[in-house]
């Protein structure tokens, strides 16, 4: 009886707060399998932002529901359905991987719930299929490779050897690299996803006469490739350039093997904005590891939602007003300049990054030369919203 009364009271209380506009955010990221480290960064980044905001978003009480898509489209789909239907989330933040985004995209946007991607930025939704309910706080997937290609061109590498896993994102990144690189591509090699031993490919690089290699080997593939590349002694002769291969999720395992290797991105832990410095210090104090771009972009996603809820005074029923508030991107991004393009993908600065050891012994990427200023993606012009 007592229990029943308490449930009733809790129910009434719940009704009470619901009327006072509680902000509900659902998060779908990958938290199992080898790429779980990426999803964990996003969750920790988002949670840190909510801590900084005293658990509120836009001054209103907020709850965060975290779901694991297990890197399976059908799981992602059912988690998305439950978030928008049963949990009635106001915002869905996700995903890490583009193929997961494909799965959750329709159920979330068709229910007129705002979907904010903290990482995946496929070309699919950047052009003709752009959507008024979809925002991206990371980048369009090809952009990092475009930046790397532009750097290779500027640095004067004559012959580049390219390597990527044999799937769509691998080919997209190869295309991205070609966009601004005009030198010779001596060879492009596609390996199976999850490839273990790169000695065969490394032998090809050694005999190819290339002066630089461009790699897209995310996660554990990158750990293996970078260490095997270093062990082969090629690193002294051939400049290693990559995207999604040497980042804060892989460097703890790569360490000095990746020293001096080049990457490209919109941010690094040593980005010199005040907000970024405070974020990195707070993140490391709380979670005990160095945040990567995944954490930064999720933190920005939280701050973006915060700014929009605040702008509409907590009234999330007027979708057009919320959208306008999101489009304004009225928050301080950790990376510095940030605004939304017409397709809701970011317009931001891109840098050449390089791997170095920090004074405390942690291996991190470090911001180098700025390659592009206020750089938007090439698909935006096909988008009409």
């Amino acid at each position: 009886m007592n229990k029943f009364a308490m449930t009733l009271a809790a129910g009434l209380l719940g009704l009470g707060t619901a009327a006072m506009a509680e902000v509900k955010v659902g998060m779908i990221v990958t938290l199992s399998g080898p790429p779980a480290a990426l999803g964990q960064q996003a969750v920790d980044g988002f949670k840190l932002a909510m801590d900084d905001l005293d658990g509120k978003l836009g001054g209103h009480d907020a709850t965060l529901i975290v779901e694991d898509d297990e890197l399976k489209p059908e799981v992602a789909l059912s988690k998305a359905n439950s978030l928008v239907e049963s949990a009635e989330a106001d915002f869905v933040v996700g995903t890490i991987f583009s193929n997961m985004l494909q799965a959750v995209f329709r159920p979330v946007t068709e229910s007129e719930t705002f979907l904010i991607s903290p990482n995946a930025g496929p070309s699919t939704f950047a052009g003709r299929n752009c959507n008024p309910y979809f925002f991206v706080t990371s980048y369009q997937n090809n952009q990092n490779a475009e930046v790397m290609g532009a750097h290779a061109q500027a640095a004067g590498y004559k012959k580049v050897f390219m390597i990527a896993p044999n799937y769509q994102a691998g080919r997209d990144n190869m295309e991205g690299f070609r966009m601004h690189y005009e030198g010779e591509i001596v060879d492009e090699v596609y390996v199976p996803l999850g490839h273990q031993d790169y000695s065969a490919e490394i032998a090809r690089i050694a005999t190819s006469d290339a002066d630089a290699v461009f790699a897209f080997t995310p996660g554990g593939m990158g750990v293996r490739f970078v260490r095997q590349f270093r062990d082969s002694g090629l690193a002294d002769k051939v400049q290693f350039m990559s995207v999604f291969t040497t980042d804060e999720t892989t460097l703890p395992a790569q360490k000095e093997a990746a020293e001096g290797f080049l990457a490209a991105g919109n941010w690094a832990p040593d980005t010199a904005t005040d907000a970024s410095k405070a974020f990195v210090a707070a993140f490391e104090a709380k979670y005990g590891y160095v945040p990567g771009g995944y954490a930064m972009q999720a933190y920005d996603a939280a701050m973006l939602i915060n700014s929009a809820v605040e702008a509409v005074g907590g009234d999330l029923s007027d979708k057009d007003a919320v959208r306008a508030a999101l489009e304004a991107a009225d928050f301080t991004s950790l990376r510095g300049d940030f605004s939304f393009n017409t397709n809701h993908y970011p317009v931001q600065d891109f840098y050449q990054l390089s791997v170095a050891e920090r004074e405390d012994g942690a291996w991190v990427t470090s911001v180098g030369e700025k390659i592009f200023d206020d750089y938007g993606d090439s698909f935006a012009e096909e988008c009409s919203m």
């Binding site: 390996v191 999850g194 005999t207 750990v223 002694g233 090629l234 360490k255």
Partner: protein
């Protein structure tokens, strides 16, 4: 395509073959002798790699880590046999597949809980931390040579055990006709336990040896398990000799295929189509090889078990 490159690729293929052999050796005994499908064999390879990582963290020495990892991998195999597998010997293959798949999920998740989801690395032992120069600018780490030598040594020891000892005789007899062995009064359960434990230890040994070359991560054994099954099907279930020959064959076909197929296709079509089709064909080659072997010799190259 230079001769040097082909020679280097043959070396690489041998090394892949040796690692495959270490995994397949245990698997083929378990499958051949007990008729037991152990999908969790790949996970025991992962356990070995994580034990190496943990052992290295505790002792700071790769050799000590290896010496600690081997008995622990053996113990792990015995514990799994006692808790899970011995209850499955009399069940059908579907139950075995389901239960051992459950063990994969459990141990992969356990590794994630204990060590985190990120990839980890183990440095090679210091006395092997040097390289041979293959061609100008390309070094071949001595550790990789050590892996090949260790694999060949294990193959030799296994061959001696199987052909020259009493246990080996029982294993061979068990692989050929388990019912008769049991009827002759041999404690088959105990034999299974021994085979299982040492199979797990071999997989663990492969994991330890692979840790400094590859990355240590949850699920690292899952892909290799499939290839290991290809190896034992080509070699013939229960045959160590078959596993050895098939592992080297698969290693060479896979490594050389990835180099030669795309280059070959470029001679007959334009480069971008070759880049599209080449990798797809190259990754199919070992399965094509398996299909061909199954067509001409359905029992595998060195079938241990009499046709039934």
């Amino acid at each position: 395509m230079s001769t040097t490159l082909i020679l280097i690729q043959i070396l690489n293929g041998l090394q892949l073959g040796v690692i495959l052999f270490l995994i397949a050796a245990g698997l083929t005994l378990v499958f051949g002798v007990m008729g037991f499908i152990n999908l969790a064999h790949g996970v025991q390879y992962m356990v070995g790699a994580y034990l190496a990582y943990w052992g290295y963290g505790v002792t700071g020495s790769f050799v000590l880590a290896l010496l600690m990892a081997l008995p622990l991998a053996l113990l792990m195999g015995l514990v799994l046999e006692f808790l899970v597998f011995r209850h499955l010997y009399d069940r059908d293959h579907l139950s075995q597949v389901l239960a051992t798949f459950g063990v994969i999920l459990f141990l992969n998740q356990l590794a994630k809980v204990i060590f985190g989801p990120a990839s980890l690395s183990v440095p090679p032992p210091e006395f092997l931390d040097f390289s041979f120069t293959l061609i100008d600018g390309l070094l071949y780490p001595a550790y990789r040579i050590a892996v090949i030598v260790a694999g060949l040594l294990v193959a030799l020891i296994l061959w001696l055990v199987i052909t020259r000892t009493r246990v080996g005789m029982l294993i061979r007899a068990g692989a050929t006709n388990p019912d008769m062995v049991s009827a002759l009064g041999v404690n088959v359960r105990q034999l299974f336990l021994i085979v299982f434990g040492f199979g797990a230890m071999l997989a663990g040994f492969a994991g330890v040896m692979a840790a400094p070359i590859f990355s240590v991560e949850p699920g690292m054994g899952d892909n290799l398990l499939i290839v290991a099954f290809v190896v034992i099907i080509i070699g013939g279930a229960g045959s160590i000799r078959g596993a050895f020959v098939a592992a080297l064959l698969v290693g060479l076909v896979d490594t050389l295929g990835r180099t030669l197929v795309t280059d070959g296709l470029r001679l007959v079509m334009d480069a971008s189509s070759a880049n599209q089709i080449g990798p797809a064909i190259a990754s199919m080659l070992i399965y094509v090889l398996m299909a061909l072997v199954l067509f001409w010799r359905p029992e595998g190259l060195f079938a241990a078990r009499a046709a039934r």
